[in-house]
């Protein structure tokens, strides 16, 4: 730094009108220019390679809104939502079981989490699919009785495989959330005469949500992508449909890109939803709610005209 700031000319010498704004020549970061150029060059070469490859890019828009693809997207969404539902409900249940004072329920919950987190979800899916080897019939007494193979449809297999696995992860997330709430909250609620379940429902869980929602958003996005594993058990969700179309239409790689684009689109939509959900549960925790992206843009637009502060 070659800038001279005369320290001896302190506030005593300067007039009370305020110190003069510093006009200094900024440091030049030449390294930044070099690294930016290298990064852009690499990016361009990758894009160029893809554009020159033997890929029929035109096939992607042709099939993007194909009925089969849309159907696959809907099934992927259905699978994501239902599996997460099973996961969240199961997770809350398991978390409460693990935190309960009853040693039997807490050990069962521990065992469940240990088992389902410890085995790959792909293996679990295939096991559910092949459980017909163990059970020939399903017999729920007078309510329902059928062959296992016709009871265990690909959808049900997928839901059980994904949902039960997810419950194990959600249990840990929920447990962390419940433990994050100050014990004084439970005490205050009990002192008012509220029961355990009311305390949990009205006081503890709403506060735990602040800790639970962000990782759960990640789980939803993970789940959306993990549903592609279900392709191996003959459930025609997005990835399976894309592969099928790819084989019959002679554009397999193109259809994979198409599937990737759809996944990207869906996860982006979910991310936006997650942001607003987090904002909702942040109420009361900070004095002002974080701005929505729309509000941020508006604020930036307003400040564009006349930037405040001299840090340019």
């Amino acid at each position: 730094m070659t800038v001279d700031i005369d320290k001896t000319a302190g506030p005593e010498d300067t007039p009370p009108a305020g110190p003069e704004a510093i006009k200094a020549i900024p440091v030049r970061h030449y390294g930044r220019y070099v690294s930016a150029v290298i990064a852009i060059a690499l990016l361009v070469s990758v894009i160029y390679a893809f554009s020159q490859g033997k890929i029929n890019w035109g096939a992607i828009p042709d099939y993007f809104f194909d009925d089969r693809i849309i159907n696959g997207v809907l099934k992927t969404l259905l699978l994501t939502v239902l599996s997460m539902l099973i996961g969240v409900v199961g997770g809350v249940l398991l978390a409460v079981m693990r935190l309960s004072k009853n040693p039997v329920t807490s050990s069962i919950a521990w065992f469940y989490i240990w088992f389902f987190r410890g085995t790959p979800v792909l293996v679990q899916l295939v096991v559910w699919f092949n459980l017909g080897l163990v059970f020939t019939y399903i017999n729920l007494g007078p309510i329902y009785k059928d062959y296992w193979s016709s009871f265990m449809t690909p959808l049900l297999t997928a839901l059980l495989g994904l949902g039960l696995n997810e419950a194990a992860y959600m249990a840990e997330i929920c447990r962390a959330g419940l433990l994050s709430v100050d014990e004084g909250q439970t005490e205050a609620s009990h002192a008012l005469g509220m029961s355990h379940s009311k305390t949990l429902r009205r006081i503890v869980i709403p506060q735990a949500m602040r800790v639970i929602v962000p990782p759960t958003g990640n789980e939803v996005i993970n789940m959306l992508k993990t549903t592609s594993l279900v392709a191996v058990i003959q459930y025609s969700e997005l990835f399976r449909v894309a592969q099928d179309i790819g084989q019959t239409s002679g554009a397999p790689a193109e259809m994979l890109f198409l599937a990737a684009a759809w996944y990207l689109l869906l996860t982006s939509v979910f991310s936006v939803g997650q942001y607003y959900l987090e904002r909702y549960y942040a109420r009361g925790s900070s004095r002002t709610l974080p701005a929505t992206p729309f509000q941020k843009i508006k604020a930036n637009m307003l400040s564009l005209g006349r930037p405040r502060g001299g840090n340019a």
Binding site: G184, G193, R283, G284
Partner: protein
């Protein structure tokens, strides 16, 4: 120890403690507390930290389980039911039922941060007493006005100062129409200039005839508002009497040395 409390006694006695012991693991915090709180009086508990006064207060609404002795609130045993000479632990729901009538104010306020001041006050009447939301809202508004915070009804606790939070906490406890109020060092976590507002509300409450058990370091409040005062140290009651007598003319050496440090 006799477990018989006659009707005549229970009409005038709100809290009665007979040889109450409490241990946390190997540490004995209360070593036999005997005292009596009359209906309508302001009963102050003072003493050095670690003397067991907060623990004793928490025993009164069964936030802590006592290990020995008997504790009665309004003539009824706390946490247990006696049949013959056997004690039966109360179910959680029965304990909750008794806690409805005992308000508690904590050192750290413990307001529900996800609810506005008004919702904090409404919560228990709606959820526990089953009062309609409209009715609870009206009553909560009145209580907030009583503690001087009518204009803060829509604020979340994080938007209130410590003194304001504590006054909301008092309103929240009052919303259940308790017959007994417990205060656990209600001003200890407050900035000095905010203490006065909270004490004013408590003074007002005392004048309305509420039975109050107050753990406090505010000797001025104890002297001015208190009807009885107990000095605790090392898990026992060292000295008790009228606040003016104990505070101005302490008999016991430990009381004298404590008061010489805080006054």
């Amino acid at each position: 120890m006799s477990a018989n409390v006659t009707k005549a006694e229970s009409a005038t006695t709100m809290v009665k403690s007979e040889g109450v012991h409490k241990s946390f693991g190997p540490v004995e915090v209360l070593k036999g507390i005997d005292l009596e709180v009359k209906s309508g009086e302001v009963f102050c508990l003072i003493g050095p930290s670690g003397s067991g006064k907060s623990t004793f207060l928490r025993c009164i609404n069964h936030l802590e389980k006592i290990n020995a002795g008997r504790l009665y609130v309004d003539g009824e045993l706390v946490g247990y039911r006696q049949k013959g000479d056997k004690l039966y632990e109360l179910k959680d729901s029965e304990v909750a039922l008794k806690r409805r009538d005992i308000g508690m104010v904590f050192q750290r306020f413990n307001l529900f941060p996800h609810m506005t001041a008004l919702e904090n006050v409404m919560e228990a009447p709606v959820q526990v007493r089953g009062i309609s939301r409209a009715q609870a809202r009206e009553r909560a508004g009145q209580l907030l006005e009583r503690v001087g915070l009518a204009d803060k009804a829509k604020n979340y606790p994080s938007q209130l100062s410590g003194g304001q939070q504590q006054r909301v906490a008092i309103a929240r406890a009052l919303a259940m129409d308790p017959k007994l109020m417990l205060f656990d060092e209600p001003t200890s976590a407050l900035d000095p200039e905010l203490v006065g507002d909270v004490l004013d509300v408590m003074r007002d409450l005392a004048e309305s005839g509420m039975t109050m058990v107050v753990v406090t370091h505010e000797m001025g409040f104890a002297r001015e508002v208190g009807d009885s005062l107990v000095f605790m140290d090392g898990g026992v009651v060292v000295e008790s009497g009228h606040p003016r007598d104990v505070l101005t003319n302490p008999q016991h050496e430990r009381t004298q040395s404590f008061l010489s440090k805080v006054l």
